[in-house]
Symmetry: C2
Subunit: 331 residues, 2 copies
Amino acid sequence: MKKIINDPNSAVQDMLDGFVAAYPNDVKRLPGTTVIARKDAPVTNKVGIVSGGGSGHEPAHAGYVGEGMLDAAVAGEVFTSPTPDQVFEGIKAVDNGAGVLLVIKNYTGDIMNFEMAAELAEAEGINVKQVVVNDDVAVEDSSFTTGRRGIAGTVFVHKIAGAKAAQGASLEEVQAVAEKTIQNVSSIGMALTPCIVPAAGTPSFELKENEMEIGIGIHGEPGIERKEITTADEIAVELTEKVIADLGLKSGEEVAVMVNGLGGTPEMELFIVNKKVNQLLSDKGITIYDTFVGEYMTSLEMAGCSVTLLRLDQELKTLLDAESKAPAFRR
Amino acid sequence: MKKIINDPNSAVQDMLDGFVAAYPNDVKRLPGTTVIARKDAPVTNKVGIVSGGGSGHEPAHAGYVGEGMLDAAVAGEVFTSPTPDQVFEGIKAVDNGAGVLLVIKNYTGDIMNFEMAAELAEAEGINVKQVVVNDDVAVEDSSFTTGRRGIAGTVFVHKIAGAKAAQGASLEEVQAVAEKTIQNVSSIGMALTPCIVPAAGTPSFELKENEMEIGIGIHGEPGIERKEITTADEIAVELTEKVIADLGLKSGEEVAVMVNGLGGTPEMELFIVNKKVNQLLSDKGITIYDTFVGEYMTSLEMAGCSVTLLRLDQELKTLLDAESKAPAFRR
């Protein structure tokens, strides 16, 4: 295992400190917790938005904390849900009476712990709603998950719910637009290599030198198929066609595209994939409103990528375009 | 070699197409060239700024094309300088009579080809000046380079020269502030793994499972020392101390920090390094004005990082803060 860390047991703590050290005017770490919150939290007369999950997906989730996006992100250990008490601290830190929306990726551990935190918060009189992102079209059930997994499409939910909250919308309105985003976003990933969880020290799976896996999860959960590596164009078509089919996208519709790197993939390769994704959508008469190429939801140093499409209407376009000061999603 | 490409020979071409496909409202590719320019180039009454170099360092250099930063970036093949005719096309595309500044990383091939392009442009009556970035403190001479290499500090030169040009400064003024930036920026990198140039198919060097290399170049050029991997804190201290010593930084001075990933390093590890860089500078009474953590100047999928410090005065702070719409450096 080759990593630039001090100790597998302190990696998440060190990372959170290093994150706050990078953006001291924008974010704060709640003392004694793994919660990164906006420096000015709780913001007056605004619904608070809290997300989070296991670490190892950076810039998710702390990179999306900032004006116009999340109010707080709660970090668990690598690939492990944060505990209910940590999520509860996040909720308390961002609530100012307007209520709090939890944006949860669909993993059994996250669902359980965020729901428990919501109950703790409600017992203290905080109004909490939640949405569950399940954009991964690869498999229906998976290790650690009942139903579809939540992956890179979650970032669009953060952006759009965050923009709606920044407009002063009610908790019900913010929840509704988050749900609308979830209904209209789909993703699928692929990997060339596994990654190594620091505390484990060895990869959780292996891929042969000529092999890739289509539909892999962001924790290395099994996908649809292992097969010989094909060209970037064939990979882009396979991923994009699955997402188009899932969303039932038709000529004349408008989308946002995200070509997301899983951590170890050079940006060059992401742009090569984007070329074909763009061509394919154009050939089908689907209009690309905006494109995001980069690392948004990673799996440590895994080499691979995912393709996300978000079907847009006027409301979602306006919210996607709205200002965001989150370090990893400046608009 | 596991890569998401179509053909090693088309990788750069496909990437450039995919880049323009991602930002069609902001950039254009000059037909038949490897030049990415601002969509609105040449900009009226503004000095043009052109940079570039071998590909494989993404987001450098095309990611820095945009209002407030570069007017054009010229891409060579992977780790290979662009040819003089390509650079010449870039210069012509951005000149509107106010002249053009070339920002060149100090590699013998780049120097030769950019200088030849400058001569071609001058023969056509275009006023061209150039600056050479040589921020890498690791070694004095290197493979492909006489004198110090140019690495991640180049991004600060792009930003500051770009901001100065956006203010309507003269070519001489833009050149002067670029030179001032170069005098005040130093960097050094380290790697855990090599990378594979697509056309080569195999790594240009090897590192043992327990080995790292301090002072490595962004093309895998030899560094100062190969040794056993130490902790993130020790790595951060070694790199940062070398940069502080080179700049002669003293208590009370102000800097911008860049902790740059080389392509294959998880963001988690970069933040862990940043924690220690931040502590060390604070302990020495050096004030951190701003911090940049992420992938700015990469080496394909190489695992490793570099630390850059830029000594700031009021002028450089104002220019660093100025608006930039470059996709990889939004301010």
